[in-house]
């Protein structure tokens, strides 16, 4: 049975790198893997989504409503936007960070309150993570994506921790490796 993981967030948060690390780790474990990315205009601060599918033989690279085993959300509102894509028994991992979308910045809409509670009401299995302070502690706010990968790694039996670390090493520049390994461990050990 093929598995589907969605990584959602705001353009600029590093969702693409996260999906590449995940894809590389899964491939290294012997799975057939397809990763679908979005480039171009929607990367400019818009809502972004990346699909990762793996199993014995994967045909479609995309994930649709009700199909994701895991949704890894880098931002609260994005978690709510994409929860429809989660299987009813799937797992939602949500970073509690809030980034105001432009309608909120402009004051024509309000950032919804109580998102996490609503997500819990809609889905049984929600794990919330405050990844930003951890990333800052690891050395930079930019490492939020790696903290979240760590948190997801803990939830995936199909990939050993060693494989994750190898994939991380292959994907980040060596001068930032130590920082990223620290961020990964922080997410992994929550």
């Amino acid at each position: 049975m093929n598995k589907s993981i969605m990584i959602v967030g705001v353009g600029g948060q590093g969702t693409l790198l996260a999906s590449r690390i995940l894809g590389a780790a899964l491939l290294d474990c012997g799975y057939d893997v397809k990763v679908s990315e979005v480039h171009g205009m929607s990367q400019r601060g818009g809502s972004v989504v990346t699909y990762v599918r793996y199993g014995k033989n994967v045909a479609s690279p995309i994930i649709e409503k009700g199909e994701a085993d895991i949704v890894l959300a880098f931002e609260q509102l994005e978690a709510a936007r994409w929860i429809e894509y989660l299987k009813p028994d799937g797992k939602l991992i949500v970073n509690t960070q809030q980034i105001d979308p432009m309608p909120v910045v402009m004051g024509v809409a309000e950032y919804p309150e109580g998102i996490i509670a609503s997500l819990r009401a809609a889905s049984a299995d929600v794990e919330e993570i405050d990844a930003l302070p951890m990333a800052v502690e690891a050395g930079t706010a930019k490492a939020v994506n790696v903290v979240l990968i760590g948190a997801m790694a803990k939830n995936m039996q199909s990939v050993s921790k060693e494989k994750w670390i190898e994939a991380l090493k292959a994907s980040v520049p060596s001068k930032f490796l130590e920082l990223n390994l620290k961020a990964f461990e922080m997410g992994y050990n929550i």
């Binding site: 397809k34 480039h39 171009g40 045909a59 649709e64 929860i83 009813p88 919804p112």
Partner: protein, 577 residues
């Protein structure tokens, strides 16, 4: 084993096929093909000023005996259509391959055109891969077919193939060296007398290629027939094949067309005759469906599906099997999150200045198209690459009074692509038009490609840099003003002067893209909540780093790049370093 992005797999195919010359203009979702091609030292790779130039470079290289290639997005093929239609007549010497990437669903495009019509129109063979392994394999096949049939060959991708990663097996590069060039005006000089003869050859080529698609292409797996349950038959190509396999598995039989021009007739007839109900699954236009109907093959197509957007496994299972997937719903008011100009984007200050001047803005294609979004809302029209400049001239020709309250905005790369011709027209046919070149020293929207104004080539090596000032001067523009868009007063003043000047004017709004790694930023700014009077002036520029928190302006330190455009708006000096 590694995961290849579809575009990366095409580049690997170029390498393995012995391709020697690659020339492209960036355009999502095609850009990475050429970026990856440039990582192979054996390939001469370049960013051309536009797709027409790129296609002609590839033609010249092919005639000179080198396997050659150019890549573009769907709308880029409109620009390159001129060389394409006649290169179809001349044919090639060494193999020539053109890649076009369509964008169903318009993830990053201004229209949803279906490039398969170009293959049909120009009578040029077109292959369509469905994953990264086929991207690599079909690229190599395309060169062989180009030489076999003496024709350019087009590879058509769609976004989901170009921007998906999957496994692709690699092989060694085979480079057979340069083919000999022999002067042959009957083949390469397309004057009417020679072109008439070539047209006959083109029509014969289509017949020969169709015969190839019926038989040899099936034997070598380019066109593939897979019989499973014959209750449902699916005729498809590209990514729709993957969606169909996902949705229907072995409950359907498949005719997967790797070559979408020319299309076989007998092969489709035989397949359709074997199956009870036959569906054509293709995104965008009813291209394969029309071919089937024309040949009397009964299929179900667009009447059950759609001409708009992308297909998917769930759409296919819903329409064909009547199955729908259960999904969750959270009780949250989902606020839209449209793309925005980045924090620190130099375009923001420029658009704010334009807003203060209350001008009509003729827009163009690039990150700055986002200046159309609220709260700036400062773009009136966007059509295609370069149109800002020419359309402004048209606006001012329609009514000369418009000239004092209208401008065009165009990026550095887009200006070189096809804005400069419009500027020549302005100077020559004399309207008092004001063209603002947003020079951020890079091709931004497609992900930071060098261009002829940046002083670097595709490999990042030093290169000749076009001087925008001298270029504008050379075409006859006398009023040339350079402003820094981080300085709101200077920018507003500069544009005002240009609008008031006699004759046409060019304003160069110069400041490198804030995302460039070479750009150094100031530390993030902070709001002094004691001084902040909650007037929301700083929010009028639509910076994603600024929001209201507990009734006061708040700056997100993770986003702010310290550009200080907001602090110029604050009347209470509440925004501090």
């Amino acid at each position: 084993m590694k995961l290849f992005l579809g575009n990366e797999a095409v580049a690997r195919g170029l390498y393995e096929a012995g391709c020697r010359v690659v020339s492209s203009y960036p355009g999502t979702p095609s850009t990475e093909v050429t970026e990856f091609a440039a990582t192979y030292d054996e390939i001469f790779s370049e960013w051309a000023p536009n797709e027409k130039v790129a296609c002609e470079v590839a033609f010249g290289a092919s005639v000179a005996g080198a396997r050659s290639f150019c890549a573009m997005k769907h709308v880029g093929l409109n620009v390159a259509a001129d060389p394409l239609f006649t290169a179809s007549y001349t044919g090639v010497n060494a193999g020539m391959v053109i890649l076009v990437a369509d964008d169903p669903g318009m993830h990053s495009s201004q229209n949803e055109q279906d490039s398969r019509h170009y293959a049909l129109g120009s009578k040029t063979m077109m292959l369509e891969p469905s994953d990264s392994a086929e991207c690599l394999d079909f690229t190599k096949r395309a060169f062989d077919l180009s030489e076999k049939f003496d024709t350019p060959v087009i590879i058509r991708l769609t976004t989901r193939v170009a921007h998906s990663r999957s496994v692709a097996p690699v092989a060694e590069r085979v480079d057979n060296g340069l083919k000999e060039y022999t002067k042959n005006p009957q083949k390469y000089v397309m004057v009417p007398a020679f072109a008439k003869v070539k047209h006959v050859a083109v029509e014969q080529r289509v017949i020969d290629q169709t015969a190839y698609c019926e038989k040899e292409a099936v034997e070598n797996g380019l066109n593939k027939v897979e019989y499973n349950s014959k209750k449902i038959g699916v005729i498809t190509s590209g990514i729709c094949y993957q969606y169909a396999k996902e949705a229907l598995g072995e409950n359907a039989s498949y005719l997967k067309l790797g070559c979408v021009y020319p299309l076989p007739v007998q092969l489709i007839k035989d397949f359709a005759a074997e199956c009870e109900k036959v569906y054509v699954l293709e995104e965008l236009d009813d291209y394969i469906e029309t071919h089937c109907r024309k040949n009397g093959i009964d299929v179900i197509g667009k009447e059950a599906f759609t001409l708009q957007g992308e297909y998917s496994q769930s759409l296919i299972s819903k329409v064909i099997l009547g199955e729908e997937t259960e999904s969750l719903k959270a009780d949250v008011n989902i606020v839209p999150r449209p793309p925005v100009l980045c924090a620190g984007c130099p375009h923001r200050g420029l658009f704010y200045a334009l807003k203060q001047l209350n001008v009509t803005v003729s827009g163009d294609i690039g990150c700055y198209t986002l200046g159309s979004a609220q709260p700036l809302g400062m773009i009136d029209t966007v059509l295609c690459m370069g149109a800002s400049v020419s359309a402004l001239h048209g606006r001012n020709a329609a009514n000369p009074e418009n000239a004092k309250k209208s401008v065009a905005v165009i990026g550095d790369s887009t200006f070189i692509h096809s804005g400069v011709t419009g500027l020549i027209n302005i100077a020559y046919n004399a309207t008092d038009s004001v063209v603002i070149i947003l020079d951020n020293s890079i091709t931004g929207m497609t992900g930071h490609q060098q261009n002829p104004t940046t002083g670097k080539n595709i490999k990042g090596e030093p290169a000749n840099a076009v001087s925008l000032e001298k270029l504008a001067e050379a075409v006859g523009i006398k009023n040339i003003i350079v402003v820094d868009p981080y300085n709101l007063a200077e920018t507003k003043d500069g544009i005002k002067k240009a609008l008031e000047a006699d004759g046409p004017a060019v304003v160069i709004s110069r400041r490198p893209c804030a995302l460039l790694k070479t750009v150094k930023h100031n530390p993030p700014l902070k709001v002094n909540t004691e001084k902040c009077k909650s007037c929301k002036m700083c929010m009028k520029i639509g910076c994603p780093a600024i929001s209201m928190k507990d009734g006061k302006a708040h700056i997100d330190f993770t986003q702010c790049l310290g550009c200080k455009v907001c602090s110029q708006l604050c009347k209470f000096d509440a925004i501090e370093e």
